[in-house]
Homo-oligomer: 415 residues x 2
């Protein structure tokens, strides 16, 4: 089954908003076994939308539109759909009442325009919108064997409606048996092409499960997707392939599915009954902020010091002034003193010290922008890692934060 | 002039990547006075790409493709372009040499495939790629009055090539006189619809300059764009409109163009010769991290304490244990003691204390998730603001950080 996605809205053509609906729908539809082969965007213009939908319905079996279901004169997607499939429009009573209720409950004034949202193509299936006022629509042209589905434009309404109503409809309508299950192996520390090189044979030879590599802000995700009659069977296929590829990349896998570096670190700290404190210089609190993104992180994170000035490093963390004078604020020794200092001061089992040059200024001879030291002090002794990161100030901060979280993870695995 | 954008690449149809090229090109082309009326995505399939480009060249004057210029067998955009415009392909010697040089300089092994990138449609203008190996292509069909432009897919290559070569070509080719200048008024504190309500009359009545509202992670940007014969004239038009709308929204405007809340705060601290330190609880270091995103922030940011535990609040910041016991760790009094405590401890002129409940757990009777206190102690005395934010843990942290930076900005404006 060939699917074409048609996104409507002049704001797309002006480049004012990013189209997130198309990748969402594409991923979902591909997982269900449909082939999305065209994605088209068109503005709120009757003639052009009609032409685009005409072309779409000729070259695809299913056309899914997003946007243009609202109450304004520019919202014309349902009308154009009705026109193309030779349907009249009528006021759908249930939808009208629901819209009236929506306004009454919020004590808002409803204008006549709002009832446009309840005008529907004859013979359409009306799909409830659980997150907004505009219902969705499914219109089937039995004779031609074509289907047009109109979804609302706001991403949270569209995603909720697709998962709650459209996916089940498509599965039943096309007798899609079984389930599709994905597992994501999240990796850090190896580049995309190097990772691909190691597991290339599995990427090329697999049709079920399939393997995909996705770069996600410093991490590479390996997604395994299996189709099978039952979830158990799908999980079996996934585990089998996972068992084959793990030996090639195992040291870089830190978690699966929604696990982040900070949730994994949190679990390891809880499992080992350890608390942690940080002394951050070049990252300015970013690593602590990421650790505290995890609900319940107050169980193991006691606190941190952001020590931007040398005085704070000396007075608050006990870094010897002579070390800073002789070795520099950005040095292995300073990082180690910071880690020990914060550990003692905040009475934790683990302390982390991070110092570096985020740039664009601040480099000195032999110490370029991007030079970073990350020290960890704890039950496993003191270790310190040196890095030379590339990129902007924001890049250096982000890469340092990822590296620090990953070093902490590895440290906790070895104690 | 009607433009159609054609994005190629199977990864788009699988929903694996976001299409950022289409909004970039749309915004740039609209600013030049072109009308982008269709955006189409198609995979690396010869037949389908040919049909899509055929349709595009029929309904548009200019077709701009992105992607498919690489060295693999799946990179077919130039071939399909040549086919449609009846051109043969030839090896472009300069491009071939440049690619060979690129590999030699990096001591990489070049495969025969890489020379595919130097195969060009006859009569095409070849556009240098300053960020990668695949040159761009402009092919004009004089008789039909149509133009096809092939750009590389990687966003940083495409944006650089468009600005350096394609925009100047289009301006000269279509005799686009004058300049287009934008200014962004960045606002915080008023919702999009409320802001729109205040300046609606100017949005509706303007054609030059135009006004657009853009929501950007908690801020609303008001973009004024003017077209004129000279930059001076355009800036005059912008300033005139800015003068008209400012009285309606002035208290919410914090900066223009690339100014962020943290750069503005930094400038105010420098102008007043003040230093600052923070005590962060619920934000976990996020506010300090944002302040240190500004190059040179070490001039005014001395350091911070992330005080997740009550012990740190008491022992390191001097919050009286009785206050925490009686009023709670999340209270106006605790926030104020934190602000004063960090100011004294780190010997700064300004101290900030932030405490709240980021959720999802931690709410108590009368203290719901999202309750946040932000205190500022400094030359202007002590002030404390209470907020009740909605949303996830990440939302609450983000909204608290924005509010804290804005409160600090307002505080510094009044001293």
């Amino acid at each position: 089954m060939i699917v074409e996605l048609v996104s409507t809205g002049t704001e797309l053509l002006l480049g004012q908003i990013m189209n997130t609906n198309a990748p969402f729908l594409s991923a979902r539809l591909n997982a269900l076994g449909f082939s999305v082969v065209y994605q088209t965007s068109v503005g709120d213009n009757r003639e052009r939308m009609k032409n685009v939908l005409q072309t779409a319905i000729e070259r695809a079996d299913i056309v899914i539109t997003s946007g243009g279901l609202g109450p304004t004169q520019g919202d014309i997607t349902k009308e154009v759909t009705a026109l193309l499939l030779n349907r009249s429009m009528y006021l759908h009573q249930d939808s009208a009442e629901q819209i009236e209720r929506y306004f009454a409950e919020r004590r808002l004034c409803m204008s006549e325009n709002n009832l446009r949202q309840a005008m529907m193509p004859a013979g359409a299936e009306i799909i409830k919108n659980t997150c907004g006022t505009a219902p969705g629509v499914i219109v089937e042209d039995q004779a031609a064997g074509k289907i047009i589905i109109n979804l609302p434009g706001p991403p949270h309404e569209l995603t909720a409606m697709f998962d709650a109503s459209i996916a089940p409809y498509l599965k039943e309508r096309f007798g899609i048996q079984g389930v599709i299950v994905s597992r994501v192996l999240r990796t850090y520390g190896l580049g995309e092409s190097a990772l691909e090189e190691r597991i290339k044979q599995y990427i090329l030879s697999q049709s079920n499960p399939t393997l995909a590599l996705l770069a996600r802000s410093g991490e590479i995700h390996v997604r395994i997707t299996a189709r099978a009659d039952s979830e158990t069977e799908a999980l079996g296929l996934i585990s089998e392939l996972e068992g084959q590829i793990r030996p090639h990349i195992n040291e870089y896998i830190f978690g699966i599915d929604n696990e982040t570096l900070e949730t994994i670190v949190g679990k390891l700290l809880i499992a080992n009954n350890l608390t942690v404190a940080l002394a951050e210089s070049c990252t300015g609190g970013l690593v602590t902020s990421r650790l505290t993104d995890v609900p319940g992180s107050s169980r193991y994170l006691v606190g941190s010091v952001v020590c931007y000035s040398n005085e704070i490093k000396i007075n608050q963390l006990g870094v010897p002034a002579a070390i800073i004078a002789n070795e520099g604020a950005v040095s292995r020794q300073t990082a180690e003193y910071m880690a020990k200092g914060i550990k003692d001061k905040y009475s934790t089992e683990v302390g982390i010290g991070i110092t570096g040059i985020a740039g664009p200024d601040g480099s000195t001879e032999g110490k370029p922008v991007g030079l970073v030291y990350i020290a960890i002090a704890g039950p496993g002794g003191i270790v310190c890692h040196q890095h030379n990161f590339n990129g902007t100030r924001a890049d250096v901060k982000h890469r340092t934060a990822l590296a620090a979280l990953n070093h902490l993870r590895q440290y906790l695995l070895t104690i």
